[in-house]
């Protein structure tokens, strides 16, 4: 009873305290809850965007997706396979302890062991503490874009991890235990994690001891996940939230037309494409018009690939499905990527007659039937894009059977197989450099060399692989530009995939709020100003 009375007293106090929303509190909402607060145990980008408030990355990332000094103030190559990072001094963790070179080395080795980061950091052999402010990162081979990759390397306190028994990235098998780092954090970032209420709220408050510039005036921020898009919009418009991410495109106009609200958008760091099987001799889930499985892989014929590219009208998809909130893409890169070549970015013209002719020449005058694997979440309006693709291909006689799958299932199909001969997917390397797209999305799959890890359609072109191999070992900027151009051109000529568009990410907010929209979907709380 006494406990109960105490509880009532506490809750009374809480209720009073919570009545007026404290000054400069940002209430923001997104699609999904953070999966974990452990920065190394997931590569989910919603989670990464939230983790970035609390943990700093070794190399910083500006709001325009350029690299900048972060925990490391400088970096330079030191020998063939080694990069040397200079560690910032006087940086404090949220628990008051001082960041050391050991913490950096510990974090690199911890994150690299995480299953989800093996593709990105698997080539790292060692992180060596040279002195109190220097760490050497040694890779298995030369890696010109390692600093760029380090924008996803989050630094945590080694002592804290040890004290809480999370020195290794936690796995799920343990019976009935919850890893401490799942809902607690100790970083050096601009915000401190106050409370993580699973599936409900994540509360942050300003880290007064933050080492860097804090441009905004947010003292406290509450993140609420709302999966249903219409509910998210209504939560904003009924003043329960100040800012929402992932605004459904159909609601952009209405929100902009509502007094006191606005939508801001920024191009996302990926582009959508339809990938076609480039290796199998017999394609999966393809049939002739009588429903008999095809005994061939039509996608190995360049004419079929070109037919698809000319039949799918990316411009119309951008206008109608994306409602103008996207840019048509003509090469395997998008504006804002390192190595992007603007003058090459011209898409194949839409030409149904040409497409029909190409298809007939390839031996399919009546078309065929193919299953399109379609991820249902994660990217904007995918279901609609797939349906539009189906009706466009129907016009050249290709019957598309759409198989929609929730993201985890779609990802499992690719990771465990990849078992798909035709699918829609968003492509981009994690770092935002075209080299990453080349090595992970386009290069011939080769597990030992760490190449083609996300080349889910098994596209393979020897000339392209040679270009990629050369690019990876080249440090000279002019030579690199030349190689970027050659790679992009081969991709387009050989129709590596049917490129569609680069989606915009759309945020909606009250007009009193200013926030830089970022291509990685992170709402940087330190840069938010509330008037």
């Amino acid at each position: 009873m006494k406990k109960f009375l105490q509880g009532v007293a506490i809750c009374g106090a809480l209720a009073l305290a919570s009545l007026p929303v404290a000054a400069n509190t940002l209430r923001f909402g997104g699609t999904t809850p953070p999966l974990t607060m452990d920065p190394h145990s997931t590569n989910d980008f919603v989670t990464a965007a939230l983790v970035r408030q609390v943990y700093d990355s070794l190399v910083g990332l500006t709001n325009d997706m350029d690299i900048e000094p972060g925990i490391a103030t400088a970096w330079a190559p030191a020998g063939e396979n080694t990069w040397r990072f200079t560690i910032r001094e006087g940086v404090k963790f949220h628990d008051g302890s001082t960041l050391t070179a050991e913490d950096v080395a510990f974090s690199i080795m911890r994150q690299k062991e995480s299953a989800l980061y093996r593709a990105m950091y698997g080539q790292i052999r060692e992180a060596k503490v040279v002195d109190a402010k220097t760490v050497d990162v040694i890779s298995a081979g030369p890696d010109p874009i390692l600093p760029r990759k380090m924008v996803r390397l989050f630094v945590m306190s080694a002592a804290w991890a040890k004290a809480n028994n999370v020195e290794k990235v936690p796995d799920l098998g343990a019976q009935g235990t919850e890893a401490y780092s799942l809902r607690h954090a100790n970083g050096t970032g601009p915000m401190r994690l106050v409370l993580q209420e699973p599936a409900q709220r994540t509360t942050f408050e300003r880290n007064k001891a933050f080492w860097g510039p804090f441009n905004g005036n947010v003292e406290r921020a509450i993140y609420t996940p709302i999966t249903s898009a219409p509910t998210r919009v209504s939560a904003l418009l009924s003043n329960e939230l100040d800012l929402i991410t992932d605004v459904p495109l159909q609601d952009v106009e209405r929100i902009n037309g509502t007094q006191g609200y606005m939508v801001s958008s920024a191009p996302q760091q990926l582009f959508m494409q339809l990938e076609m099987d480039g290796t199998r001799d017999v394609a999966l889930d393809t049939w002739d018009k009588n429903g008999q499985p095809l005994q061939a892989n039509p996608f190995k014929d360049l004419r079929v690939r070109r037919a698809f590219a000319h039949a799918v009208d990316a411009k119309l998809i951008v206008d109608r499905v994306m409602r103008g909130q996207a840019f048509v893409v003509g090469t395997a890169a998008a504006a804002g990527f390192g190595g992007y070549q603007k003058d090459l970015d011209v898409r194949w013209p839409t030409d149904v007659e040409l497409a029909k002719k190409l298809l007939a020449e390839a031996g399919y005058p009546n078309g065929f039937i193919v299953q399109l694997n379609c991820p249902l979440q994660r990217y904007v309006n995918t279901e609609e894009i797939c349906r539009a693709t189906a009706s466009m291909l129907a016009r050249i006689g290709v019957e598309v059977r759409i198989k929609g799958m929730p993201w985890p299932e779609f990802a499992r199909m690719l990771v465990n197989g990849p078992s798909s001969s035709f699918h829609l997917i968003g492509a981009a390397g994690n770092s935002g450099d075209v080299q990453d797209t080349f090595t992970s999305v386009m290069a011939t799959r080769n597990r030992d060399k760490g190449l083609g890890g996300t080349n889910w359609a098994l596209w393979s072109n020897a000339e392209f692989d040679a270009v990629t191999a050369e690019l990876v070992g080249t440090f000279d900027p002019a030579k690199r530009t030349e190689l970027y151009r050659r790679g992009l051109t081969i991709g387009k000529e050989q129709v590596h995939a049917v490129y569609l568009h680069q989606p915009m990410l759309t945020w909606a907010m009250r007009r009193s709020i200013t926030v830089p929209a970022r291509a990685d979907s992170a709402v940087m709380l330190k840069d938010v100003t509330i008037k």
Partner: protein, 311 residues
Amino acid sequence: MTPDMPSDGNLLARMRRHPVAGSLLATPVTLVALLALLLVVACAIFAPWIARTDPYDLATLDLLDSHLPPAFMAKGDPRFLLGTDSQGADLASLLLYGLRVSLLVGVLAVSISVTLGTIAGLISGYLGGLVDSIVMRIADIQFTFPAMMLALLIGGVSQSLLPNDKRAALAMPIVVIALGISHWPHFARLVRGAVLVERQKDYVAAAQLAGRGHLVLMFRHILPNVLNPIFVLATLDIAFAIMAEATLSFLSFGMPPTQPSLGTLIRIGYGYLYSGEWWVVVFPALTLVVLLVSINIVGDWLRDLLDPKLR
């Protein structure tokens, strides 16, 4: 048929005395509901002939026709009476086909419930003893869970466990079976109760003495006497099945977008509610509500008419 046709006034008076027509005329609401129901069912049956386009044929869709408002609005297109969806499909055609799917699922599901329940009820009531206890125990276990919960569990879990390539193809059987299973005990109890009553009666004893077999007794003598209550319960159950299917589809564990029911259309349309494209959600929702209300009203009326005991 009498050669001298009665005058209108007389006809009306005679209809009032007629038990069925009279009860209809006494409650205009029921009459309206019955007419609405007949209209809706006719639309569903004749959908392929009424609908302007076949919404399952992707080649007929044109993205340029997308997001059009209903024909009677300023920017409407006369080709699309109720407007179009995000892919340029004719909403009126989608509705007609959706209605067809919803009704089909409802009727099939209830047929399963009725068949399972009647057989179980007949056997258990007629044979009694161990069989009776086992069947009724199973029914009892199932009664522990509300039918809606059961439909959600069976439908949701099997959809989620199914390999994804089978999911769309098996969606309809799964939904039908989930709903069918979730309601059979209602019929089993009803039939068993009726059988217990009938068994006491003299004609059964007489038939038994005459050496009729068990099956003949059950199906030829006892079953016809319990048909009325089964029919009434089945009518009301179709409303439940349609609503449960719509709910499953709304939660995206029911019919897939490639073969949308009314619930699927509402789920997809819900995303456009705030954007001003109200027609993609309002028309399917209205159709569903009209369908359910009219079935329920007609069902209540049938119950009063055929089986006042059930009240």
